[in-house]
Symmetry: C2
Subunit: 157 residues, 2 copies
């Protein structure tokens, strides 16, 4: 895949993440599971990608532990696996919400986005925000990336 792999990128968490979820269809499948689809035929109908591509992406997501399958076998019927999101898949939700937020702000239809995410109980809009470990909101320009040893030294000061 990578024509000239570079050692500098070998421990980049984003590069590692994108090896798994870097494709458009992978994230769209995840969203559909998140929104309640669970069958191959559901994904095929809503996403409109080819069956081969869909099957390959679902296999990869199961292999990576992001989706899990449960097969219901009724006597005499064909088995149809049901796809469910795992805790490792749930951990991707902030990233997916971040993509959604950008799309809503920067790429929405002139009439606005078709849907919004809200808290099931509180009814208010929810989105991905950058926060510090203490929960305070952080401006993007105040973020810096530091090597882990430097970060640990900073905490020890």
């Amino acid at each position: 895949m990578d024509p000239r792999p570079d050692p500098d990128m070998s421990n980049c968490s984003i590069a590692r993440t994108l090896e798994v979820v870097g494709g458009k269809w992978t994230i769209l499948i995840l969203c559909e599971v998140w929104y309640g689809s669970s069958r191959f035929s559901d994904f095929e109908r809503v996403l409109g990608c080819s069956r081969n591509l869909l099957a390959a992406r679902l296999r990869m997501l199961v292999k990576e532990g992001i989706l899990a399958t449960e097969t219901s076998r009724k006597p005499g019927s064909r088995s149809r696996p049901k796809y469910e999101i795992t805790p490792k898949g749930v951990d991707l939700v902030p990233a997916v919400m971040g993509l959604l937020r950008w799309g809503d702000r920067c790429r929405a239809d002139p009439e606005g986005p078709a849907g919004l995410s809200r808290h099931r109980g509180w009814g208010v809009h929810v989105d991905a925000q950058i926060r510090c470990a203490r929960g305070r909101a952080v401006q993007a320009e105040d973020i810096e990336s530091v090597p882990v040893p430097a970060f640990r030294m900073g905490l020890a000061e």
Copy 2:
């Protein structure tokens, strides 16, 4: 690109976002700009992708208004554009931080991630979190997606 575009997906903000930033290299380029790289030769050295692919992705990011170029022309020297992130690019930071967070938790090297994101002034770790409009932390399982008219009706109640 899409073999069978489906009208259901035409106003999905994630699908629209992934049309722009759906590729692995696009997000990796954005991270590099975010971390301070600004020249074609910097991206080429760190990312190790082909020059053609890199040039195409940079052109697309500029065309989409996510990066902007500033060309310094010294007399007698070749012009070398310098790439900078725009406000529209900054708006992608929560999504990128979300991918980073997942990579750190689920795909990091056994020795742990190479780097961490922290607040420049406070020194504490920062990451992407799901929050409601009032800033309260939200569990992934409490999020629901609703069509915009239903959302507005919920607010009016």
